[in-house]
């Protein structure tokens, strides 16, 4: 075990503990210490980001460096912790940390009306530590522990403003649904342990393969698949398990909304596809029936797009609209990833997965930026109703410009990054040679066009309506909030102009999935 590779998690947890302790001592005069907490959290994030970028040259890390043996026995099934750090996990960790760092900078000014900020930064660090852990976990127990750590941090962050009814209600709803998901997950994991006798994800894959090859598929496997899809699917907000999302994401403080919509749901997506692929993809050739899983996921993804779009069209609350647009993008990502569980040519599958992984990045940036901009507007004008925000572009041109870039990228307008990732998925679907994907890609493009309608309606209401009397005192966002927004804007333009560099990283990630 080489602890060096776990440093990002350790830094996050250590920073969280430090903030917690400081907060404990300084409880009575909490306002004055807010900046201290923010600085500690920011330093932690920058250190993590630097480390992770540095890791990029050392991939993949040898697996023996990442096994932590508990107890005296060198090897015993089930009693050890194993991590995984290769191009795939690195790609996700990178996305998480980039958005986390930006959120941390953003929160310095954005959260200055709140108190109890020690808890806010503590939970933010734990949230990111949990996400990194989920992605890096190489065995189911570790995965579940980090999964719950991440979930608990996110419940509390959603209802962070506990004096208002909406966040508390949304947080409780999120808690119930997510807890249900976790129970399903635990159920599926225990069945897996019962079937294979190990918790190591890679070993489960090989064991299941031999078992499936000799005995064929049975009811327990079906239950495992269903419980994994439901368990991870609640967090990933695939329809019909998405109902918590449009409540929870708008209710959270905007930085947290950006994290939740941009990256937290992607942990669910990552874990679902990663486990399902490792467990069942090797058996696909032997058992063609298993392909049904892939096609079910395909149609679920289409359903997700359609529902997300239809609901987003009728929203008048700007953050709820963005939340439903997240549901839409979950559909886009699942569309590409569903190919892993079908019998399509594996080159095409790699391309589709690459597109989806690239879309994870572009969506994280686009949606993250959109939520941060919505937050910046809320910071100056405390209302989320679009009717009242009409014409705010005249008052806050820089923020609205960043918002425009974010929405145009989400709409898939070239040459912004959202276009390249969607193009990538579309190319994969077009070359799949499968009728269901041909139909699917038409619906995919139709959804993409439909989404342009509401993005554009938002934009034209913000820019082109005359600013009402109630907006006359609204000023441009403070510079501390503009800076993180511009960081993402510049990053997006860079990705849009040289997509190849980032697509290659996504490609390495897709290759590392081991198809």
């Amino acid at each position: 075990m080489n602890v060096f590779w776990l440093l990002p998690i350790i830094i996050a947890v250590a920073g969280a503990l430090l903030i917690g302790l400081l907060g404990r001592f300084a409880r009575r005069e909490s306002q004055g210490w807010n900046l201290t907490y923010a600085i500690i959290a920011n330093i932690c994030f920058l250190a993590m980001l630097g480390l992770i970028i540095a890791f990029g040259n050392a991939l993949p890390v040898k697996s023996e460096d990442l096994i932590l043996v508990l107890g005296t026995k060198t090897y015993e099934k089930g009693i050890y912790t194993i991590f995984r750090l290769d191009q795939l996990t690195w790609w996700f960790i990178l996305i998480f940390t980039i958005l986390g760092s930006v959120t941390a900078i953003y929160s310095i000014r954005y959260m200055d009306h709140d108190d109890r900020l020690d808890r806010y930064y503590l939970l933010l660090l734990l949230l990111v530590a949990g996400m990194i852990g989920v992605v890096m976990a190489g065995d189911l127990l570790t995965l579940f522990i980090f999964w719950e750590g991440m979930s608990i941090a996110s419940y509390i962050l959603v209802s962070f403003r506990k004096d208002e009814p909406e966040p508390v209600e949304a947080g409780v709803k999120y808690l119930f649904m997510s807890a249900f998901g976790s129970v399903m997950l635990l159920f599926g994991m225990s069945l897996l342990y019962g079937v294979t006798g190990t918790l190591n994800i890679a070993e489960i894959g090989t064991t299941l393969f031999t078992k499936l090859a000799t005995n064929g598929i049975s009811g327990v496997h079906v239950i495992i698949i269903i419980s994994l899809i439901i368990g991870f699917g609640v967090k990933a907000a695939i329809v019909p398990l998405h109902t918590w999302l449009p409540d929870a994401h708008p209710a959270a403080p905007s930085g947290i909304s950006a994290m939740l919509s941009g990256v937290v749901i992607m942990t669910g997506m990552f874990a679902m596809i990663n486990t399902l692929t490792t467990f069942f993809r090797p058996s696909l050739l032997l058992l063609p029936n298993l392909c049904a899983v892939g096609y079910v996921l395909l149609w679920v993804s289409i359903l997700t797009m359609v529902i997300g779009n239809l609901m987003a069209l009728r929203q008048t609350d700007i953050k709820r609209l963005l939340a439903f647009s997240t549901v839409l993008n979950v559909g886009f990502i699942l569309f590409g990833l569903s190919m892993t569980l079908t019998n399509i040519n594996s080159d095409v599958v790699t391309l589709g997965v690459q597109g989806s992984y690239f879309h994870v990045l572009t969506h994280a940036l686009g949606k993250g930026l959109a939520f941060l901009c919505a937050g910046a507007i809320l910071y100056r004008f405390h209302d989320r109703e679009l009717d009242k925000l009409e014409g705010i572009g005249h008052k806050m041109p820089v923020t609205t410009f960043a918002f425009t870039i974010a929405l145009l990228s989400l709409a898939g307008v070239p040459p912004l990054p959202g276009f390249w990732s969607k193009l990538n998925i579309v190319v994969a679907a077009v070359s799949s040679g499968n009728v269901q994907y041909y139909v699917g890609v038409a619906l995919f493009l139709l959804s993409s066009v439909t989404s342009v309608v509401y993005y554009l309606i938002v934009l034209q209401r913000l820019w082109f309506k005359p600013a009402g009397e109630h907006l006359k005192d609204v000023k441009e966002t403070p510079i501390e909030i503009i800076i993180p927004l511009m960081v993402i804007v510049i990053l997006m333009i860079v990705i849009g102009v040289i997509p190849n560099t980032f697509q290659n990283l996504a490609k390495q990630a897709a290759t590392a999935l081991g198809l």
């Binding site: 790699t350 579309v426 342009v452 309608v453 997509p499 697509q503 490609k507």
Partner: protein, 505 residues
């Protein structure tokens, strides 16, 4: 010979908006002059490639850029998206007319947009818009083509929504965006199909796509997809309904660009993609459907134009009618027709650009609403002689009066209709000539109602506008003359390119 003139030209257009915008924060004059100068420099760099286009031998492609902008693996077949700019005898004249009309529109904006707010943003978006159009014409790669195609849409959407005539500009811009974007999706699927069936190496470069071995059904489906997208842009009936609104309500310099060159980019693209790559002329029944649509569009646009009381909407419907001519020429799939269409792009750009700008002059000199209402105008020729003369030249060119440019191009298009050898061609020609008569009617009625007739007391203080507004028009009118007298200046390029596409050596 490899050089970077085209790349520099596009790069200037893509980067200039940032500078123009920030200069506009400081001073409106700085913004407008910097926009003009940047477009001018870019045009000069573009013009430098003329030598290469001619030296390489007419019809040869002079291209520069990178083969691999984006590249990802797909087993044995790569997915390669290049960034190539092509100047050949087809794209050179079209891009040149875009630069000419854009420069005229930028200078015209000096006067027209004088009182508007946020001029920095306006000029920045305008330059970006020009970049989109030039990029579409010069694109040598299908995805790059699509990128510029959308880049053409976004800035124009924002300009129309922000600076268009109130109160409907936002709704109209939205309509424009959705029509064009849905059309663009059809194009994107078509591009995917071209790549999947026609590109053996997995490259999206137009030069690498070969559809000769592909079944006719696939070609037909792809052609229809492309034509859907392009017909929206060209406003061919029944996909035309966005055009009268958009062109009528956009700020006038933008209307001039929209009607003058933007919608014609689709005609260019039809020749490049549908005729050249997909070879859609081989399906005779299908081409006659297209000709039918084109003729209907011509007559419909002409009749609707007759009924308009608003100058800008009149010219907008006239554009629909003229797009019918161009579509007719392309739809015949003869070398004559295609040559005429490409030529008509040039002559229509000059004439319609001028006429829209004349309408804009009436709006600034008389009043935003009153200056558009044909019924209230009259006798202005005595008050604004320069405008009147320029308008007359453009109107005559549009109605196909020799020796102006419009005559040459329409005549060649009709030759194409005859040369196609289909008996239906005769009927089509009849209808087309009829619609030329319609064109003459509505343009001359416009001249009569607006500029001729008795002088009106209420217009006694009306004058010609400032030189910034009439100078570009005079240049465009002169070009109409010159091209009409020396049609070879355009035809040298166009006939050669068309001959190559149709395989006539």
């Amino acid at each position: 010979m490899f050089n970077f003139t085209l790349i520099i030209s596009i790069a200037i257009l893509l980067l200039a908006p940032i500078i123009v915008f920030f200069l506009g924060k400081w001073n409106d004059h700085a913004a407008k002059w910097s926009a003009f100068i940047f477009v001018l420099i870019s045009a000069v760099f573009f013009a430098l490639s003329l030598g290469d286009v001619l030296n390489d031998g007419l019809g040869n492609i002079h291209s520069e850029g990178w083969n691999k902008w984006i590249n990802f693996n797909l087993g044995s077949k790569n997915v390669t998206i290049g960034f190539k700019l092509i100047a050949d005898s087809l794209s050179f004249p079209i891009a040149a007319i875009i630069f000419i009309l854009s420069l005229a529109a930028v200078m015209y904006s000096f006067g027209y947009m004088k009182k508007e707010e946020n001029q920095g943003a306006y000029y920045a978006l305008l330059v970006l818009y020009i970049a989109g159009m030039v990029g579409v014409i010069l694109a040598g790669d299908l995805v790059q083509f699509y990128v510029f195609w959308e880049l053409m849409l976004i800035p124009s959407y924002f300009i129309i929504a922000k600076w268009g005539s109130k109160p409907n500009s936002v709704k109209i811009a939205f309509k424009y965006f959705m029509f064009t974007h849905v059309g663009a999706m059809a194009i994107l699927i078509g591009i995917g199909g071209l790549w999947a069936y026609g590109s053996a190496s997995g490259s999206f470069l137009i030069a690498n796509i070969n559809m000769t071995a592909v079944s006719k059904t696939v070609t037909l489906v792809l052609t229809i997809l492309f034509l859907l997208g392009f017909a929206v842009k060209m406003a061919i009936f029944p996909l035309h309904s966005w055009l009268p609104d958009t062109h009528g309500e956009a700020p006038t310099p933008i209307s001039a660009i929209l009607s003058g060159v933007m919608i014609e980019t689709a005609a260019y693209a039809i020749l490049r993609i549908c005729t050249d790559i997909l070879d859609m002329g081989s399906n005779v029944t299908f081409t006659w459907v297209l000709v039918g649509l084109a003729v209907f569009t011509m007559v419909y646009g002409g009749i609707m134009a007759l009924a308009q009381k608003d100058t800008k909407r009149l010219f907008a419907y006239s554009s629909i009618s003229q797009m019918g001519y161009i579509f007719f020429g392309l739809g015949t799939f003869t070398a004559f027709g295609a040559t005429g269409s490409m030529f008509h792009i040039v002559s229509h750009a000059l004439a319609k650009g001028t006429l829209f700008m004349v309408a804009g002059i009436l709006m600034t000199q008389i009043g935003h609403h009153k200056g558009r209402d044909i019924k209230q105008l009259g006798g202005l020729a005595y008050k604004m002689p320069i405008t009147a003369i320029v308008a007359l030249i453009a109107a005559l060119s549009l109605s196909g009066l020799p020796p102006l440019a419009g005559f040459m191009s329409e005549w060649i298009i009709f030759e194409g209709g005859l040369a196609s050898g289909n008996p239906l061609g005769i009927i089509a020609i009849f209808m087309a000539v009829l619609s030329t008569a319609l064109t003459a009617t509505y343009t001359l009625l416009f001249m009569k109602n607006v500029f001729l007739g008795p002088e009106k007391e209420e217009f006694k203080d009306v004058k010609d506008p400032s030189p910034y507004m009439w100078a570009p028009l005079v240049v465009l009118a002169l070009l109409t003359f010159i091209i009409g007298i020396l049609p070879n200046s355009v035809l040298t390029f166009v006939t050669d390119a068309v001959a190559k596409i149709f395989g006539i050596t």
